[in-house]
């Protein structure tokens, strides 16, 4: 029983990692209707920025803040300089652009910072505050994910900018006719997603260590989590992430063993999607002929 609880909590901790990146994916999806395959590498790159700043002697929170801001602008610039050019292209073309970004970021980071793993500090205390099953940092990651979720919710629900972004995502033509600069809304969506990704990266790195491939494994789980939760729902992303984390641990520890746990977890997720094609919390859109 103790081990079981331990597995569940460890799954929640992993799930929080997936959730934090899934939130960034949902963010981009909400503003552009694309799943950004480069999101993980972007987050990884941001985390390296933070690492470099901390190494240069900046205090943690200063580095944290600067990284979030810098990442926001990096996202913004990527959208304006690269993604914009394929705005009208078929979705698969955009996917290839994302893959190109992924490999470039991965390779360039490895080149600049080498591939050896780096220790990234945690802002949370060393000693466990919430019992033996979960470390303070892991609990902190869950907390940060929920904080980001609530902030996003408030932003989209109650600010004019949030409303403008939702409007743009839903109907770009109508939004333009309301005077909204939709081009900037998309760029802003990228910026915010990159900022959320940076937070995710800085939360993940203390657990998994910082290296250029840090996010490549996590990205799959995050995509699965985001889709399972309903790709347009931030709440769904968080719940999806936690579910995937726990599901995977239980599968690996008690059901199928570790060699096939990923496979089985994926089969379960796809099973869910077959019976609930819009995800657990996704809106079903009315399609008109």
């Amino acid at each position: 029983m103790e081990a079981f609880l331990h597995q569940v909590f460890s799954g929640l901790a992993n799930g929080a990692i997936y959730a934090s990146l899934a939130l960034a994916l949902v963010m981009i999806y909400q503003s552009t209707h694309h799943i950004n395959f480069a999101q993980g590498e972007l987050a990884m790159f941001s985390t390296y920025l933070a690492w470099a700043m901390i190494n240069a002697g900046l205090p943690y929170w200063a580095a944290f803040g600067l990284t979030v801001v810098a990442s926001f602008f990096i996202g913004l610039i990527i959208e304006r300089a690269i993604v914009r050019r394929v705005a009208d292209a078929p979705v698969l073309t955009v996917v290839v652009v994302f893959i190109a970004l992924l490999v470039i970021l991965n390779s360039v980071t490895g080149w600049i910072f080498t591939y050896t793993i780096k220790v990234f500090p945690s802002p949370f205390p060393e000693e466990p505050l919430f019992g033996p099953y979960i470390s303070s940092h892991e609990a902190g990651v869950v907390g940060v994910s929920i904080f980001v979720l609530v902030t996003l919710f408030l932003f989209f629900r109650f600010t004019p900018l949030g409303l403008a972004m939702r409007a743009t995502a839903e109907n770009a033509v109508s939004s333009r006719l309301a005077g909204i600069r939709t081009g900037w809304m998309l760029a802003l969506g990228w910026g915010i997603a990159a900022a959320i990704g940076a937070i995710a990266g800085m939360m993940v790195a203390p657990i998994v260590y910082l290296d250029p491939n840090m996010m490549s494994g996590i990205l799959l789980y995050a995509i699965a989590a985001a889709l399972m939760g309903g790709i347009d729902s931030p709440l769904g992303a968080v719940i999806g992430g936690l579910t995937v984390g726990v599901l995977e641990n239980i599968m690996g520890a008690y059901v199928v063993g570790t060699e096939l746990k990923l496979t089985v977890a994926l089969v379960v997720i796809i099973g869910v999607l077959i019976f609930k094609p819009t995800g657990l919390f996704g809106r079903s859109f009315v399609t008109r002929v």
């Binding site: 103790e2 081990a3 331990h6 597995q7 460890s10 799954g11 901790a13 992993n14 990692i17 490999v103 390779s107 490895g110 080498t114 591939y115 050896t116 793993i117 780096k118 220790v119 033996p132 470390s135 993940v204 657990i207 998994v208 260590y209 290296d211 250029p212 491939n213 490549s216 494994g217 996590i218 799959l220 789980y221 995977e248 641990n249 690996g252 520890a253 063993g257 570790t258 060699e259 990923l262």
Partner: protein, 403 residues
């Protein structure tokens, strides 16, 4: 359809014609090295998920650059061509064929990875191209009967495992062993070796096995399972990032087993420091290389030479990374091999020299761990020494094990 018919006839005609013209391929067995340059080929994963190993290839290139700056070997420059295979076997085949057939390299050295080398094993032996210092620890690289052109470099994973098995049998005969391994050839070779080493006690002693994929973000769940099995001995067969995670996690959840760590992840700078030096106290491993971060070698002559070389030829890379030592030794081994070959730069002589190394103490190898080969023995490194981490350095203990 008429046009369709036309095209079919055309294709057929062209095909028949081209088959008739077909000329046999000329086989070239042995190219003598040109007078002033020796071409050596290699593959490494410079791109893709395994690009962490790319630094090994860069270290090898950097070493040969130093050799060339010093005037080469026997008056000949080394042209070391190291190509990217992205750790993908089909690409290795392609790149090796390029090296052998287009570049016409004299031999291959330091090709990295088990699946990648498996893919070219038959080809290079059919072609009679020396395929030496194969940079993985699988046992199959020491099979002179069937593959006389292939010789591995590393202490084989299974031999290393047997050292741990022997240690456990002698010091903790009632151990309950839990194994964490990477779900690939490397991980499974280690597990297999341990089971062989334990013999018929394997079934009773090994109480839990858990695997992970390189794409897994963490191995926390596996560590929790292994601990729950009640094991008091932990055999940790993981690559650096996961080794660091495992050491830290085991410590954090209060699991204090006899912790055997595979040699792949013994780097103080890139594994133990990230995991926490105090959390690494008590780790046991089998060593055969010197670690550039380990303070016990700080005044060592080999290490001084290594550091000097590193700072001059690889200024942008991380000296912490023990992978570079691997590349350094392979390259110096190749240089040593060429010196031994003298002016007889034929492929046959290369294998002959490779298979007649006696008690060779190479730089950066632990004292007493020498290279020995013969026509029947294609294992270059066959010994190691156990070491326990004391919080600062790997404290060697016991004798050099193996031959």
């Amino acid at each position: 359809m008429k046009s369709n018919h036309n095209i079919k006839t055309l294709i057929l005609a062209m095909f028949v014609a081209s088959v008739l013209i077909g000329c046999g391929e000329q086989q070239t067995d042995d190219q003598d090295a040109s007078v002033d340059e020796i071409k050596i080929g290699s593959t490494n994963p410079y791109s893709g998920p395994a690009s962490a190993y790319g630094t090994i290839g860069r270290a090898e290139s950097a070493y040969f650059k130093m050799i060339n700056d010093q005037g080469g070997i026997n008056g000949r420059k080394i042209n070391f061509i190291s190509l990217d295979d992205g750790y993908s076997p089909p690409r290795t085949v392609e790149q090796i064929r390029k090296l052998v057939e287009e570049e016409e390299v004299l031999f291959l050295a330091g090709t990295l990875g088990t699946p990648t080398n498996s893919a070219i094993h038959k080809y290079v032996n059919a072609k009679g191209v020396p395929h030496v210092f194969v940079n993985t620890g699988a046992t199959k690289w020491g099979d002179p009967q069937n593959f006389p052109w292939t010789m591995g470099f590393n202490l084989s994973y299974s031999n290393e495992s047997k050292i741990y098995a022997q240690y456990v049998l002698e010091n903790k005969p009632d151990a309950k062993i839990a194994i964490l391994y990477q779900n690939d050839d490397y991980g499974k070779d280690y597990v297999h070796g341990l089971k062989e080493g334990l013999g018929d006690k394997a079934d009773t002693m090994i109480v839990a096995e858990a695997s992970y994929e390189v794409t897994d973000p963490t191995i926390d769940s596996q560590i929790i399972s292994l601990r729950a099995s009640g094991a008091d001995t932990f055999y940790n067969v993981t690559t650096p990032k996961f080794a660091a995670q495992a050491i830290r996690k085991a410590n954090d959840i209060g699991w204090k087993p006899l912790h055997l760590l595979n040699n792949v992840s013994t780097s103080v700078g890139t594994v133990l420091e990230p995991a926490g030096l105090e959390k690494s106290v008590g780790l046991i491993t089998a060593l055969y290389l010197k670690d550039p971060v380990d303070p016990q070698w700080a005044d060592d002559e080999d290490m001084k030479a290594y550091t000097e070389w590193f700072n001059k030829y690889m200024p942008d890379e991380s000296i912490d990374d023990a992978f570079n030592v691997n590349g350094y030794i392979i390259a110096s081994g190749v240089a040593r091999l060429l010196e031994a070959c003298g002016d007889d730069l034929t492929r046959a002589n290369i294998m002959k020299q490779m298979a007649s190394i006696k008690d060779l103490q190479m730089p950066m190898m632990l004292p007493g761990i020498t290279w020995n080969t013969s026509a029947e023995d294609f294992f270059l490194i066959e010994s190691a020494q156990l070491a326990r981490f004391d919080g600062k350095e790997w404290a060697l203990f016991g004798d050099v094990i193996g031959n």
